[in-house]
């Protein structure tokens, strides 16, 4: 189960000069439980295209995708209910807050479940539960989504997808536009949803500090190719990440600078400021 990519290619047809390959020869397996993946890479490297394959929003140009046992290829199969896939894998677009449209938060969250043939009562229960999962209390149910802050709007739109009770949650740059505190709160929220429900979570981001602190697994795309699939610990030990347009987390950069300047051998692979401080103290004492 889960999501399997087997040699998946996808090409967009451009306005001029033929086509343009968005993802190339992707083979990849995502478990249906307990994954916390960040998907990183240069703008235009194919991250969003890859994410949109995960719930059959786009179909491969060639190769095979298997999503919770259902095969997705270039040809639509009329025996397959693609909507079932979209319930199993929830996709939250970039700037989802722009897509809020109902007059109350409750109605907005109920929209998905109603579309998936839940009754009014069932949808209400699901909406309430989803709102709790994103850390907002019942008082928000009757509020107008347009009067919420940016961070709250993002949470409401994520609740709209959670209300479908997907097994896997895919989020396209959910933290963009948020300040550092807002980013961290949202990542903490994903972490707690992941730990409490066991749902697999896949987050697209450009923020290496967040990747290092939160991800269990990192996928790196470069010009449509999957060039790395492994832990952040292994990724950030690699030399020359700039070739993938990536960078190192701030803690690693500061500690590396200290080692070079003072000729020390502090263990630079520290995820938080507190760990970095502790490592410096150990390094100075030894």
């Amino acid at each position: 189960m889960g999501i399997q990519f087997k040699q998946v290619n996808f090409s967009y047809t451009g306005m001029q000069k033929g086509y343009y390959e968005a993802i190339k020869d992707i083979s990849l397996s995502i478990e249906s439980k307990n994954e916390f993946i960040t998907l990183v890479g240069q703008t235009g490297s194919g991250k969003s295209t890859l994410a949109q394959h995960m719930n059959a929003l786009v179909f491969p140009t060639s190769g095979t995708l298997e999503i919770f046992g259902k095969k997705v290829t270039s040809k639509r199969d009329r025996h397959i209910k693609y909507n079932d896939i979209r319930q199993k894998v929830g996709l939250v677009f970039q700037f989802p807050e722009y897509q809020l449209f109902e007059e109350t938060v409750e109605k907005d969250i109920m929209f998905g479940p109603l579309n998936f043939h839940k009754t009014e009562e069932e949808a209400k229960v699901l909406a309430k539960k989803a709102l709790q999962m994103v850390g907002l209390n019942d008082n928000y149910l009757n509020r107008n989504p347009f009067n919420l802050s940016g961070g709250e709007k993002k949470r409401v739109s994520i609740a709209g997808i959670l209300a479908l009770d997907p097994e896997v949650l895919v989020l396209d740059e959910p933290t963009s536009g948020l300040d550092p505190k807002g980013k961290r709160q949202l990542m903490d929220l994903f972490k707690s949803i992941q730990e409490e429900t066991g749902k697999s979570i896949i987050v697209i981001t450009h923020d290496m500090d967040l990747v290092y602190e939160y991800a269990k697994r990192v996928l790196v795309l470069d010009k449509g190719n999957l060039v790395f699939d492994g832990s952040p610990e292994v990724l950030f030990r690699m030399n020359d990440l700039s070739k993938f347009h990536l960078d190192y987390p701030q803690t690693i950069r500061v500690l590396k600078g200290i080692n070079e300047r003072f000729n020390l051998s502090i263990d630079i692979y520290q995820k938080t400021v507190h760990d970095a401080t502790a490592a410096i103290k150990r390094g100075l004492n030894s």
């Binding site: 703008t43 550092p180 450009h206 700039s242 701030q250 400021v273 401080t277 410096i280 103290k281």
Partner: protein, 268 residues
């Protein structure tokens, strides 16, 4: 009097809450100012007021001694350009060439002059080989550079970057910051709206907005000496400075290391 002066500026949308309260700010030619603030602090609203996309409720904005009013907003736009957050939302041309031309078309630049300027400014931002490309063939960083070329072609005195790097990958972002640095060295006035302190460190002066008001302003080393101000304004300190305060709290004294951590955050 600076080149850009904001005096007792108030702004609200139709709702009751005041978005900006009594903003006073003076920016000189050639300065690089970073406006830092939490989500909802009013920083993007301030940028929109400065380019005349919104009208103040009270107070005034003057640019080069001229009051910014709805009737002269086009004159002001010749002096102040703005680059927004999302490179996809501001790419208006079919090709890079059309996109750079767009701003100039509004200024009635002659065709010959325009073609020369397109070449010149595309070269300046290092995109001369991309003139016939479509937006889908460009990276986010490249699109932002095209947006900048379009503004440079209008020969404005000030460019406002409204969270212009926040959607870029780390590589494109570092590249863009280095490029802005070059423009600043050439004398362009930069107003950088951001919630990222690491990015704000490039500026000469920092303005911290909190809930619609100017909470603190000054040079960066002075502000960094007050970690409580950042906490109060819901902001983070640079990582090196966080480590500095963390070490200090743990009773660690190593002057050389402290100096290094400070230098790490001011060497931008």
């Amino acid at each position: 009097m600076g080149y850009l002066d904001i005096e007792h500026l108030y702004f609200q949308y139709s709702s009751k809450r005041m978005i900006l309260k009594d903003i006073n700010l003076s920016i000189n030619q050639g300065e690089w100012i970073a406006i830092l603030g939490h989500n909802g602090s009013g920083k993007s609203t301030l940028a929109k007021l400065i380019v005349g996309l919104l009208q103040p409720k009270e107070g005034r904005i003057t640019v080069d001694g001229v009051d910014l009013l709805p009737e002269n907003v086009y004159d002001i736009r010749k002096k102040i350009g703005i680059v927004f957050q999302n490179p996809d939302n501001q790419f208006v041309g079919v090709t890079v060439r059309d996109d750079i031309a767009f701003g100039m078309e509004n200024l009635q630049v002659s065709k010959d002059d325009m073609l020369k300027k397109i070449d010149f400014y595309a070269t300046k931002v290092g995109m001369q080989n991309f003139l016939d490309k479509e937006p889908s063939q460009l990276s986010g960083g490249q699109k932002q550079r095209i947006a900048i070329a379009g503004i440079l072609a209008m020969q404005t005195d000030i460019i406002i970057f409204d969270e212009a790097t926040s959607m870029l990958d780390p590589g494109s972002r570092a590249e863009l910051m280095e490029y802005i640095k070059e423009l600043h060295q050439e004398g362009l006035t930069i107003i950088m709206i951001t919630h990222d302190i690491e990015e704000a460190l490039y500026a000469d002066k920092l303005v911290i907005l909190k809930s619609g008001e100017i909470y603190q302003q000054g040079d960066i080393p002075t502000l960094l000496k007050h970690p409580e101000w950042f906490k109060e304004a819901y902001l983070e300190l640079p990582t090196a400075i966080q480590i500095y305060y963390d070490l200090k709290q743990a009773g660690h004294d190593n002057q050389e290391l402290e100096e290094y951590l400070w230098a790490f955050s001011s060497s931008k």
